[in-house]
Symmetry: C2
């Protein structure tokens, strides 16, 4: 059996669909047409139908999608029917804010470790975790079998820290450091940099 | 004269090119081929050449791009040859971490206001700004002519707060609240949600 490889750009949109569907479910809605969903998302109905067709479609002609069924299916596709344990590296303002963030637990993400090199921070409590020294990072990540890390260290040490995480068995890194990491192709990297998002919008603001 | 409209997906990649070129300049490099640049970015040389061709190209056949020249041109295109003043709304952990963030000032972004509704936070100092009450938000934003806001309020009040920002003249919102905002098409919105980025990677982690 040959398996269809779903383009990454399609995968990138699924969490966004899921979030909006969850929002609609909260509003008490039960079904939604691809047209209504597309308006909420600022995309096209054709795009949504095409994206979902990779996984079998889920909609009936004329009646639209069952919101609960679609949420359930998207959660399965994205492997969200389990809790994912995550290590945060860097206990500065951002690392601590992320560790405190209430939005993780309700969406199946558990921050189980927080590392830093600063002796003033090591041993302090942040939310439900205690900051540990980066010296023990590899051993603890390997020991717990953690696969996902959030990187909030300064730019100068981001690459070397990411290399250490990969050595420790980390397979996915959410990188907040403002540099492009160079890592093996097998490691999944997502980059969050508010400056890049702001700059993208500044292009349009300057047009006036 | 008809102006070519540059696709938004192209614009979205320019800040990322710029960041990597700045990184290369720091490493002491002076020129770069589209091939070398593409390897650093994990994209293709053809993509980079095509993206830059919208703005005239900037490269000489055989010699590659002058890094400094390309940085200068990208900064002009993205309107980064000025300081942009930004208001942060929501002085929780994340809002405070962003207001403290050192990476803004060095890239031409100045956080000039921070608003919250919590009387315990109003009046406190965060970095170089004092938290102000949201009651005065519209007046102060209008008064200063601020066009860009970062939204870090809870999900339940994100839509209403965004509506107020738009009324006050805000034209671009970087939204950290985990909801899809419904706003006039003329308002630019970028959404940062670490959960969406993590979920996108979980798809691949579950494949093993």
């Amino acid at each position: 059996m040959t398996e269809v490889i779903v383009p990454d750009i399609v995968i990138s949109r699924l969490p966004w669909y899921l979030q909006t569907l969850n929002q609609m479910a909260k509003e008490g809605l039960h079904t939604v047409s691809s047209k209504t969903l597309s308006k909420r998302l600022g995309t096209t109905a054709a795009q949504i139908r095409k994206d979902l067709s990779y996984f079998g479609g889920f909609g009936k002609q004329g009646t639209g999608y069952s919101i609960y069924y679609l949420i359930e299916q998207l959660q399965k596709i994205l492997n969200l029917d389990q809790v994912w344990q995550v290590a945060v590296v860097g206990a500065g303002d951002l690392g601590r804010a992320l560790t405190h963030y209430q939005g993780f637990a309700i969406r199946g993400i558990e921050i189980v470790m927080l590392f830093d090199i600063d002796p003033k921070l090591v041993g302090t409590q942040v939310g439900s975790v205690v900051v540990r020294h980066v010296d023990s990072m590899e051993a603890e990540i390997r020991d717990k079998g953690i696969k996902i890390a959030i990187l909030t260290v300064p730019a100068q040490v981001a690459q070397i820290t990411a290399d250490r995480l990969v050595d420790a068995g980390i397979e996915a890194i959410l990188n907040y450091a403002p540099i492009t990491l160079i890592l093996p192709a097998s490691v999944h990297v997502q980059h969050i940099d508010p400056v890049l998002h702001l700059q993208r919008m500044m292009y349009y603001l300057g047009e006036e």
